[in-house]
C-alpha cells in the first residue's frame, strides 16, 4: 500500500475537491442549463402551438369569408329578383293607373259631352218653345186657316236662327 501511494489525507483532500466541483457544477452549470433547455423547449412548443392556432384561425377565417361571400351573393341575387319583382309590380300598377286615369278622362269627357249635348238639346228645346210660342202668338194674332197655319210655322222655323245653324 505504501508503494501504491494510498494516503488518507490525499484521499480526503481529493474527495472534498471533487464534492466542491460537483456542488459548483450543479449550481452553476446543470441547474441553469436545465432551466434554459426547459424554457427553450417550452418556448418552441408554445410558438409551434401558436403557429398551429394561427393556421387554424386562418382556415376558419377563410371558410367564414367564403361563407359570407356566398351569403352575400345569395342576398344580392335575392335583392335583384326582388327589385325585378317590384319593378314589374310598379309597371303593372302604373299601367293600371294610367288605364284608370284614361278611363276616367274618357268618362269625364263623355260626361261633359253628354252634358253639353243635353244643354244644347235644352237650349234647342227652349228656343223651339220660344219659337213655337212666337208662332202661336202670330197665329193667334191673325186668325188663320189650316194652310196659313202651316205656312206660319214654317216661316217661324225658317226665321229661327238656331234651326238654320243646326
Amino acid at each position: 500500500m505504501e508503494g501504491l501511494g494510498l494516503d488518507l489525507p490525499t484521499f480526503v483532500g481529493q474527495l472534498v475537491s471533487f464534492l466542491i466541483l460537483l456542488g459548483l457544477l450543479v449550481y452553476v452549470g446543470y441547474k441553469p442549463i436545465r432551466k434554459m433547455l426547459d424554457e427553450r423547449a417550452n418556448r418552441i412548443k408554445e410558438s409551434m402551438e401558436q403557429a398551429e392556432a394561427t393556421k387554424q384561425e386562418y382556415e376558419q377565417a377563410k371558410v367564414a369569408v367564403q361563407e359570407q361571400i356566398g351569403k352575400a351573393r345569395e342576398e344580392g341575387q335575392a335583392i335583384i329578383s326582388q327589385a325585378a319583382q317590384i319593378g314589374d309590380r310598379l309597371k303593372e300598377e302604373a299601367r293600371g293607373e294610367a288605364r284608370k286615369e284614361a278611363q276616367a278622362l274618357v268618362e269625364r269627357a263623355r260626361g261633359e259631352l253628354e252634358r253639353e249635348r243635353d244643354k244644347v238639346i235644352d237650349d234647342l228645346r227652349h228656343e223651339f218653345v220660344d219659337t213655337a210660342i212666337l208662332a202661336a202668338e202670330k197665329v193667334i194674332n191673325e186668325t188663320l186657316d189650316k194652310e196659313r197655319h202651316r205656312k206660319l210655322i214654317e216661316q217661324a222655323m225658317e226665321e229661327s236662327t238656331t234651326f238654320k245653324e243646326n
Partner: protein
C-alpha cells in the same frame, strides 16, 4: 492532367513529409539514449532523455505542505471545468452562442445518454454525479497532455502530474460512485433494497415449515434459503469488488499510458511519441466514458425493480 491527391495534399508532398519524418525518427533513435547504448558512444545532448522512473505514489513538491502534485492538477482540472461552465452560463441566452452552445451540447449529450439508460426520473438523479465524474476524469486526462506539463520541477519533484495516476483519485471517485449507487438504490426501493444483500425470508419460511412438520418441504425451503442468503453475501462482495475494479481500471490505464508515453519518448524522442499522445487523448476519453457509464449502469441496476 489532374494530380493525384492524398489527404488533401499532392502525392509528392506526402512522400516528402514521410521521408522527412522517417529521417527524424531514425536520427532521433540513433542519436538518442538507446542508440548511444547500442553504438557505445554518448547520446547527442538534444536527444538525451532520462529513462522513466515510474513512481506510483504522488510526489510532494512542497516539503512542508501536505499537498501532492496530483492534488494541484486536480484543482486545475476543477478550475478549468468550473470556469468553462461558469463562463458559459453567466449570461445565458435563449438562442445559444459559442461557449453556451458548447456546454449545452455536453449537457444534452450526457442527459440523452443517461436518460436513454435510466429513464427520465432516475436520469435526473444520476446526471450530476455521472457527468461530473466524466468531466473530472476527462479534464485530468487531457490537461496532462499539454506539452511540458509534467516537466515543471519544484524542489526536485514534478509540480504537476496527471491526477488520474494517483490511486487516491480513482479510489475517491469509486467511493463516490459506490455511495451514490447505494443511496439511489435505497431511495428508489426503500428498506426492501437491503433485501438484495440480506434476504433470510426463504430460510425463515423453510424453518417454519420444518417445525410445523412438513419435513420434506422444510428441508427444501432451508436449502433455497441458504442459497438466497449466500447470494446476498455475494452481492455485498460484488459491490465492494466493483469499487476496487473501478479504482484500478482507471488508475492502471492512466498510469500505463503515462509510462508508455515516457518510454516512447525515451526510445524514439521524435515523431513517434506524437502517436501515443493521440492514443492517450483517446484513452482519456474512453476511460472517462467508462467510469461515468459504469456508474450509470450499476446505478440503473440498483434502482431497477426486481421482477
Amino acid at each position: 492532367m489532374a494530380k493525384r491527391k492524398v489527404l488533401g495534399c499532392s502525392l509528392n508532398l506526402i512522400i516528402i513529409i514521410s521521408i522527412v519524418f522517417l529521417i527524424l525518427i531514425v536520427v532521433s533513435f540513433i542519436g538518442g539514449s538507446v542508440g548511444a547504448l547500442i553504438t557505445g558512444g554518448e547520446p547527442l545532448s538534444i536527444f538525451a532523455v532520462q529513462p522513466p522512473h515510474p513512481q506510483l505514489a504522488a510526489e510532494h513538491p512542497f516539503p512542508n505542505l501536505p499537498i501532492t502534485n496530483t492534488m494541484i492538477t486536480a484543482w486545475i482540472s476543477i478550475l478549468v471545468v468550473f470556469g468553462l461552465f461558469f463562463a458559459a452560463t453567466r449570461r445565458m441566452k435563449l438562442v445559444p452562442r459559442g461557449l453556451q452552445n458548447f456546454v449545452e451540447f455536453i449537457y444534452e449529450a450526457g442527459a440523452n445518454f443517461i436518460e436513454d439508460a435510466a429513464g427520465k426520473k432516475h436520469g435526473r438523479w444520476f446526471f450530476p454525479v455521472c457527468v461530473t465524474i466524466f468531466l473530472f476524469v476527462l479534464a485530468n486526462a487531457w490537461i496532462n497532455l499539454i506539452p511540458g506539463f509534467e516537466t515543471i520541477k519544484m524542489n526536485g519533484e514534478p509540480l504537476l502530474r496527471n491526477a488520474n495516476t494517483d490511486v487516491n483519485v480513482p479510489l475517491m471517485l469509486a467511493v463516490v460512485a459506490f455511495i451514490s449507487i447505494e443511496y439511489w438504490g435505497f431511495k428508489a426501493k426503500g428498506a426492501p433494497y437491503l433485501e438484495t444483500f440480506f434476504n433470510f425470508k426463504p430460510l425463515g419460511s423453510g424453518l417454519k415449515q420444518l417445525f410445523t412438520g412438513k419435513i420434506k418441504a422444510g428441508f427444501a425451503g432451508i436449502f433455497t434459503g441458504i442459497i438466497v442468503a449466500f447470494a446476498g453475501i455475494l452481492e455485498i462482495l460484488s459491490h465492494f469488488i466493483r469499487m476496487v475494479s473501478f479504482t484500478f481500471r482507471l488508475f492502471g490505464n492512466m498510469t500505463a499510458g503515462a509510462i508508455l508515453t515516457l518510454i516512447m519518448i525515451f526510445l524514439i524522442p521524435w515523431v513517434v511519441p506524437a502517436i501515443f499522445y493521440g492514443l492517450e487523448a483517446f484513452f482519456g476519453f474512453v476511460q472517462a466514458m467508462i467510469f461515468g457509464g459504469l456508474t450509470l449502469g450499476f446505478a440503473c441496476a440498483a434502482v431497477m425493480a426486481e421482477e
